[in-house]
């Protein structure tokens, strides 16, 4: 698929944004500047951005606990995301969601989820409203190989298939559910489960290549938008960091050779080489973009720093559309 140069460059910027944002967030957890923990998408940027860029700005998306990459990939502003991670008032969820429950409805991000698989039905419902209201929108559900063993996925796939809902089920197979190797708990291939639900299913073996992901998801999005229903896409990828920052269980559960071979396949390095060899970007362009993204993340950090902490009264707001009357 040939794309405009600007599209390639925007993909690159979004991948860099995720990398730099998550590296910064990981440091901030270490320094106690972010309460709780974060789950970084470092190593999975190609798969996240390839999928998000295949969607339009009006399209819907839900995610999971590995949660910053999805809204960033969908085009969310970084400042309110960073402020949310720090539990600040200017956070995108006013400090009530935190890292695992980011959502930015302005860019179609309907919410990440701390419960594995739990947001898949929400994405399915968004596809149902798109179909009934004839908005032409498509929905995409991100979930991991762990969530591939949750029953709600199959309830969702069945419903989406019988109703021909405009949705893409995107399995980010980073091969481990926390410490548990996917092959030890998952029968067969995830992508092949699509067959049982009468929908296209495919596996992208190299999810470190953003263009492969973009092509496959674009095809699925077109299929959905044309009224042909859902697609299941399994993308093979690898997380470079721990399951969550500060989780000190070492890396014994991941084979050293396996880990090293994946670390060599850094999606950002792969795409950098592509942009340069294809003449889309010169080295100086790459350096400029990296500088620009570093500054963006710095700005986001500054925005978050400057934000006040939420007023205690905020804890009692927004349970319902009207005040609940509940207080301490």
């Amino acid at each position: 698929m040939m794309l405009a140069n600007d599209t390639y460059l925007e993909m690159y910027r979004r991948m860099l944004r995720i990398r730099v944002f998550d590296e910064r967030a990981a440091k901030m957890v270490k320094h106690g500047e972010i309460p709780g923990t974060v789950h970084t998408s470092i190593g999975q940027e190609a798969q996240v951005v390839g999928a998000c860029m295949a969607l339009g700005p009006e399209d819907y998306m839900t995610g999971n606990h590995r949660s910053h990459g999805h809204p960033i990939g969908k085009g969310a502003a970084l400042g309110p995301l960073m402020a949310e991670l720090m539990g600040k008032a200017w956070g995108i969820c006013e400090g009530k969601g935190g890292s695992m429950h980011l959502a930015d409805f302005k860019v179609g991000s309907l919410g990440e989820s701390g419960i594995v698989g739990s947001s898949i039905p929400i994405a399915t419902g968004a596809a149902l409203s798109a179909k009934i209201l004839k908005t032409g929108r498509v929905s995409l559900a991100f979930f991991g190989d762990g969530a591939a063993n949750q029953g709600c996925l199959y309830e969702a796939m069945n419903m989406a298939s019988i109703w021909k809902l405009p949705i893409v089920f995107l399995c980010e197979n980073n091969q481990y559910a926390l410490s548990t190797p996917s092959y030890t708990v998952t029968a067969g291939r995830i992508a092949e489960r699509a067959t049982g639900f009468d929908m296209p299913g495919l596996r992208i073996e190299d999810g470190q290549d953003v263009l492969q992901v973009y092509d496959a998801v674009s095809t699925a999005v077109k299929h959905a938008r044309n009224g042909n229903g859902p697609t299941l896409i399994e993308v093979m990828t690898y997380r470079f960091n721990e399951h969550s920052e500060g989780l000190r269980i070492g890396n014994d559960y991941r084979n050293k050779d396996e880990r090293e071979s994946w670390l060599k396949r850094d999606p950002i390095e792969i795409f950098t080489r592509y942009l340069m060899t294809s003449g889309i970007a010169k080295e100086s362009d790459i350096l400029d973009m990296k500088k620009q993204i570093n500054e963006e993340v710095e700005e986001a950090r500054k925005f978050a720093d400057e934000s006040p902490m939420p007023d205690p009264s905020i804890a009692f707001k927004d349970l319902y559309t009207e005040p609940s009357g509940v207080s301490l």
């Binding site: 819907y60 839900t62 956070g91 995108i92 969820c93 006013e94 400090g95 009530k96 969601g97 429950h101 959502a103 930015d104 409805f105 309907l110 919410g111 989820s113 701390g114 419960i115 739990s118 947001s119 898949i120 039905p121 929400i122 994405a123 399915t124 419902g125 968004a126 596809a127 149902l128 409203s129 798109a130 009934i132 209201l133 908005t135 929905s139 029953g151 709600c152 309830e155 969702a156 069945n158 419903m159 019988i162 109703w163 707001k317 927004d318 349970l319 319902y320 559309t321 609940s324 009357g325 509940v326």
Partner: protein, 331 residues
């Protein structure tokens, strides 16, 4: 005014909403065939037409038996512009979708800082007292009272069912409607034009001065019968129907207890952490000084529901138990 059954009134409210707003849809198991009374009673359906014929299969959707996706998809659809009415048939089936209820439906507005609205109604019927056995007889509303973010209605009359359901469909918050199957056939004159009953406003059905009796769902009818029987003994009972459990009209109950000094709560739910337990705790905390006697809860004991009609009905609140409780608080 028109004579309507409880179930017919539910059908009437849904029809009103479907006609008024194209964003309203009905989804659930067997809704196209009206198996669980989605469109009201059988007679009203025959007279007034079939929802499937009137509104079409795009808006009247039969689902697979997959409660988790039914509930979750309705939530996602509500977050993106639809106003679904979900028919979950039996209340005991709600547990299949517990994650979606608790982690998505109840939390999404709050957790996302008010970005989401969830205008969705989840209807279900409690089939207790009808020999449907342990898997179909639960009265599970207290579990959901413990989940902030959900609103809960427990209509006890056809008029309330119509007005509360219409209000629920029009609200932008998720509502669980717990309807009692035993009340389906109950008939009364109902205003056939549009009206809405606000949530959080109890109805004082009968005024009295000696004992306040709060009834939940079927408990309302038990309270009224007890009140009638005790009238001949010159015992004056005030009967209150909270109509909605979330929000709960504490004020109406407090005001009544302040006058009577005595409270009995009739609630068909299991005793522990029942709606009755919550109301009782609240009155003890706020109005202990008004009480002339300990509060009595008339509930179902903490027991599973057996099948045999010979042993089922003894478990639920009934008029005899209500009268015994009322007499006890008057001692």
């Amino acid at each position: 005014m028109t004579m309507m059954s409880y179930l017919g009134a539910i059908g009437a409210a849904q029809r009103e909403a479907l006609e008024n707003d194209p964003r309203v849809i009905i989804i659930g198991e067997d809704v196209q065939a009206n198996v669980y009374g989605t469109m009201g009673g059988g007679k009203s359906r025959a007279e007034k037409g079939d929802f499937l014929q009137i509104f079409g299969p795009e808006r009247i959707r039969n689902t697979p038996i997959s409660e988790e996706i039914i509930v979750g998809a309705a939530a996602g659809a509500a977050m993106t512009g639809l106003r679904p009415i979900v028919d979950l048939s039996y209340s005991s089936f709600l547990y299949m979708a517990m994650d979606q209820f608790v982690n998505q439906v109840a939390k999404n507005r709050y957790m996302f800082g008010g970005q989401a609205s969830l205008p969705v109604v989840f209807r279900s019927a409690m089939f207790f007292g009808l020999s449907t056995g342990a898997h179909h007889s639960d009265r599970p509303y207290p579990m959901f009272m413990n989940t902030p973010g959900l609103k809960i209605m427990v209509p006890s009359t056809p008029s309330d069912a119509k007005g509360l359901l219409r209000q629920a469909i029009d609200m932008d918050d998720p509502v669980l409607s717990f309807e009692t199957c035993m009340l389906w056939g109950l008939k009364e004159e109902v205003n056939e034009s549009e009206y809405r009953i606000p949530f959080g406003k109890a109805r004082i059905i009968r005024e009295g001065k000696d004992v306040t009796v709060v009834g939940i769902s079927t408990g309302v009818h038990i309270a009224l019968q007890a009140a009638q029987q005790l009238e001949v003994e010159n015992i004056s009972i005030e009967v209150i129907d909270p109509r909605t459990l979330v929000p709960l009209d504490y004020e109406a109950i407090l005001n009544s207890v302040a006058r009577t000094g005595r409270l009995v709560i009739i609630d068909p739910a299991n005793r522990t952490c029942s709606a009755a337990a919550e109301i009782s705790a609240m009155i003890c905390e706020i109005a202990f000084d008004c009480l002339k006697a300990p509060i009595i809860r008339v509930t179902t004991p903490d027991m599973q529901i057996p099948f045999s009609p010979a042993i089922e009905k003894q478990l639920y609140p009934d008029v005899d138990k209500a009268i015994a409780a009322i007499k006890k608080v008057l001692k």
